[in-house]
Amino acid sequence: MSYQPSALRLQREASRRQASRRSTTIALLSTLAVGALVIVVVTGAKGFALVRESFFSWHYAVHSFPSVLSGIWLNLRVMIIAEIFVLIFGLLLALARTSKSPVLYPVKLFATFYTDIFRGLPLLLVLLLVGFGIPGLQISWIPNSAVMLGTLSLILTYSAYVAEVIRAGIEAVNPAQRMAARALGLSQTQAQRFVVLPQALRKVTPPLLNDLVSLQKDSGLISVLGAIDAIRAAGIETAQSFNFTPYLVAGAIFIALTIPLTRFTDWLTRKQDRARQQQGQW
């Protein structure tokens, strides 16, 4: 027999549909009102014509696009290399910080120290210290390219953030899980590797991806060391024309690059929420 919704259910659904129609209408009207207000305020401003010409010039956008795009290729490579190393170092730091082994105590101390320092230090400062300090040492086998040192700075800083996220995940796993693993005869390391860590990483995937999105956009900061990335390329274009549109072009490309990852994060979070809702685990 096919499913026959009851009269009460149909009534309830009709009422919900009506409510949802009403809220859509309200959302639409308020968005239009706010949009109109913004347009009136911005276009009505005294300097609007000037701003439009120097920030939103189609001519300069098209003109600067190829060089900004070739700059973003550098950002992309930096992002990907940095993300890989950040995940590895972040994981190692988190494991060191949560370790209870006496042998690893010095490592734990170092990891605590490290995360304290690199979470507190502004990324820009790390970039300047590493980017100009390390070449200053004049050690022949250490590369002194701006790109390498810039990437190193990103890795140093973001490993600290990612380590804290993973550590939070490890500590959020119910201690009974570790106990059950040990009761089966698994060693401390096996329990961590096969029981605790998989659960911890699942719990922290959304905040972890959030940090990676942040890392992607901060890859633009390596331009302060002179690496010709998208922002630097835009800066060079701007310096030739005194028009700021290339910066907006770079910004648009950065947004386009991070959107897939942010949407993926949202999707994953929603999926996890739904799964938890179904299991009643609130």
Binding site: A176, Q177, M179, A180, A181, R182, A183, L184, G185, L186, S187, Q190, F194, V195, P198, Q199, R202, Q279
Partner: protein
Amino acid sequence: MSALNLINLRKSFGAELVISDLHLRLQKHQVKVLIGASGSGKSTLLRCINLLEEIDDGQIILDGEDISAVGIDADKVRASIGSVFQAFNLFPHLTVLQNITLAPRLVHGISQPEAEVDALNLLSRFGLSEKAHQYPDLLSGGQQQRVAILRAIICKPKLLLLDEVTSALDPVLIAEVLSLISELKNDGMTMLIATHEMGFARKVADEVLFLKGGEIIESGTPHQMLEKPESAELKNFLFALEQAGRL
């Protein structure tokens, strides 16, 4: 030689004495049931035996070996003792089959295909074959606890410790779990069981031990203990259970 011999066991948490001068001997294939109010030391005793807690004094002899000796490999000892908990503690990120085969593969060095064959045999024997590839969240409490018991016995432990394994379940689900444990008794499994289920104690226990304040106050056959209690403490305990309708 007895399967388990506890000699003069003592355990305290700080200043609080939880188990005091306790003696207990469990023969091979024997089933003993610990009863007593919450806080009487039942769970702590079980956790001391599988070395999840360290004892302060005394000896724990498992199958002739002093497992309480300083420097003993605790992981190896735990691998030979099965433990099941009130809250199941199945690993939520692993399927039923993976939960059961984890320890065989990692601890006992059994190859994955072989471990899976063993696990599937066990699951089918207890009517859980269909659940092999599901995640624990999708199982009922009784099914989860039965899987947890199978996980504990897959490598044929010398001793099985059951800690209030039915306390989180409703009566229908309790029955499923209890029938599994009865079958294990028929198989000859040596078991030490902490429980609030008196009917269960009556059914599977060779001997019932009444614990209070970390001491064994009285022990005997289920019949003696439940029908003709001698000590005032046990009488009070049984009276309280009766009042609560749980005898």
